[in-house]
């Protein structure tokens, strides 16, 4: 009896520090932000309960809708490109069988470098007047682009940079999925005389679906709260053309110090992230085999 108590006691003692830390640094701030989203801070710094006023304000706030649209555009554009390119790259890597360690290091380098460094590097490459990208375009007779400085093209440009950075990551996840497929299905397809493309569309890709959804979940979490790269390269500009919800919420809180409204924006964004994860997880169980 006393032994089982001491067992439980020691278990509790070992997990206590992490539980205390989680409560203090994660759970408390989490609920505090939700509480704050129902308050308004006056100019004198006093906090006052205002009910759902912050959420009502959101509905008629053009900047909010702008942020939501940009978040969605950036999300879908990047996710689709990364899944397509990542799957293609994974199939190439899978066929190559043996991968020297140096090749693997090469492919992990984009997504292990800080997003901030990726931003610095692409700022220089995509500079409208002196950048290497425009030099390459013009030497092929194509018109130069303003890239990140163009309100119309900044979102696709950010999506391209993110795709460059994260395609190898998606590829390595999909590669893991490919390697875990039972070889017997391929052998059966080969015996039946199925062509390579037929095998790919009818057998490999359907079997890969759960892995693809897993990759989509992991990327969705990052893509919906897209921040670092934007803050480093454009800070949401030009003319708010890359002001995602996360950027808008951050600026509302830390540049305009509207803590209540910023909290409401952050809560909304979190609901979107958790909602996307839940929906995709449902999808994953639906396509599991």
């Amino acid at each position: 009896m006393s032994k089982s108590i001491s067992l439980r006691g020691q278990m509790a003692a070992m997990s206590a520090p992490s539980v205390i830390f989680t409560v203090g640094m994660i759970a408390f701030p989490f609920f505090y932000t939700i509480w704050l989203s129902f308050q308004t801070m006056s100019a004198t710094g006093t906090i006052r309960y205002t009910g759902a006023a912050n959420y009502v304000r959101m509905v008629s706030d053009d900047q909010f809708w702008n942020g939501l649209t940009i978040t969605a555009a950036l999300y879908f554009l990047s996710l689709v490109m990364q899944l397509i390119c990542g799957t293609a790259l994974a199939l190439l890597l899978f066929r190559a069988k043996k991968l020297p360690g140096i090749v693997r290091s090469l492919f992990i380098s984009p997504f292990m470098m800080p997003p901030v460094v990726a931003g610095m590097m692409w700022l220089v490459i995509l500079d409208p007047s002196l950048g290497a990208a425009n030099y390459i375009l013009t030497s092929f007779g194509l018109p130069p682009s303003e890239w990140l400085a163009s309100p119309g093209f900044v979102v696709p440009t950010l999506a391209l940079i993110d795709t460059w950075q994260w395609t190898p990551y998606v590829a390595l996840i999909v590669l893991g999925g490919l390697q875990s497929l039972p070889p017997s299905v391929y052998e059966a397809a080969e015996i039946d005389g199925a062509s390579k493309f037929k095998t790919l569309y009818r057998i490999t890709l359907p079997l890969l679906l759960p892995t693809l959804v897993t990759a989509a979940v992991l990327r969705s979490v990052d893509l919906l709260r897209f921040f670092d790269l934007i803050y480093i390269t454009t800070q949401g500009g030009p003319a708010n053309a890359s002001s995602t919800l996360n950027i808008y919420g951050f600026r509302t809180g830390f540049e305009f110090f509207q803590l209540g409204y910023a909290s409401a924006l952050m809560v909304t964004l979190s609901v979107i992230v958790f909602g996307a994860v839940l929906v995709l997880n449902r999808l994953r169980t639906a396509v599991a085999w």
Partner: protein, 275 residues
């Protein structure tokens, strides 16, 4: 039959060719960054851009003269090592207990921190740390970065602990070993490779993290990543210096990632994918 075989050969040649092309696309931007960091100031903004030039270390040398780069690097080190250690200290016993008792919901709660936008926590943290007059302190940065590192440690270590056969624990218990002793005398040594992987991943993610130190640091405690924002402002006239800074900042995570590449994907996906 021979037709099929030659068809196959062409297929694998095309495969190799496409793979090389993909490799070139992946590496070119990074190579351009490194190359530019060795260019003279007049050459780095030359148009058309030059591929061949006489390399110089001037950009690296002048980093410490024109910016507090060494101070920022030291700050990054303090915050990263501090938050990685804290993450291990909190996360390793938590993962052990979760694996032993099969109670994983506390670990799932920490995933909230991994999924929610960092900005969600930042406002309350800001108010909290201001209350305790800790804005700009190393401790504020270490504590907030541990919110990144602890879930990584827990989720990377969980499968390692799960792999220890229960009979090992039972035998130790029969010998009168307390759970705490079992943890640090038996379980920890058995998961030493897991500890290394989780420490390295935690280090990389803490090092790379931008948002928290952007808000919670001051000019004395600013990390390299947060200082990058200033480098860009100054770098509009000095691309060579900017690229030298970028190269140096990217170096530690890239080297460490290479070491753990075997466990990288399962670690990054927090066990969702076996890579």
């Amino acid at each position: 039959m021979t037709d099929l075989a030659s068809n196959d050969r062409w297929f694998s040649r095309l495969n190799t060719l496409l793979l090389i092309l993909a490799g070139i696309i992946v590496i070119t931007p990074t190579a351009w960054m490194v190359l530019s960091s060795f260019k003279q100031s007049f050459e780095v903004t030359a148009y058309p851009p030059t591929l061949f030039f006489s390399p110089t270390l001037d950009n690296y040398r002048s980093l410490s003269d024109t910016t507090p780069f060494p101070q920022y690097a030291l700050n990054s080190m303090i915050v990263t090592v501090g938050s990685t250690s804290l993450g291990l200290l909190l996360g390793a016993p938590a993962a052990f207990v979760a694996s032993w008792t099969r109670i994983t919901w506390p670990a799932v709660v920490t995933l909230v921190a991994r999924m929610a936008p960092g900005t969600l926590f930042l406002l309350p943290w800001y108010l909290m740390f201001r209350q305790f007059d800790m804005i700009g302190s190393y401790w504020a940065l270490i504590l907030t970065h541990a919110v990144i590192t602890m879930p990584i440690v827990i989720w990377v270590l969980l499968p390692f602990f799960d792999n220890i056969p229960r009979s090992v624990y039972e035998a130790a218990q029969v010998d009168g070993c307390s759970p705490f002793r079992i943890f640090y005398r038996i379980a920890l040594p058995l998961v030493s490779s897991g500890l290394a992987v989780s420490a390295i991943l935690a280090f990389v993610f803490s090092w790379n993290y931008f948002l928290f130190s952007l808000v919670l640091s001051n000019s004395d405690t600013k990390t390299l990543i947060a200082a990058s924002f200033n480098f860009i402002g100054e770098g509009s006239t000095n691309w060579g210096g900017l690229m030298a800074a970028a190269t140096l900042i990217a170096l530690p995570p890239l080297i460490l990632a290479t070491i753990v590449q075997r466990w990288l994907i399962s670690g990054l996906t927090l066990g969702a994918v076996k890579g």
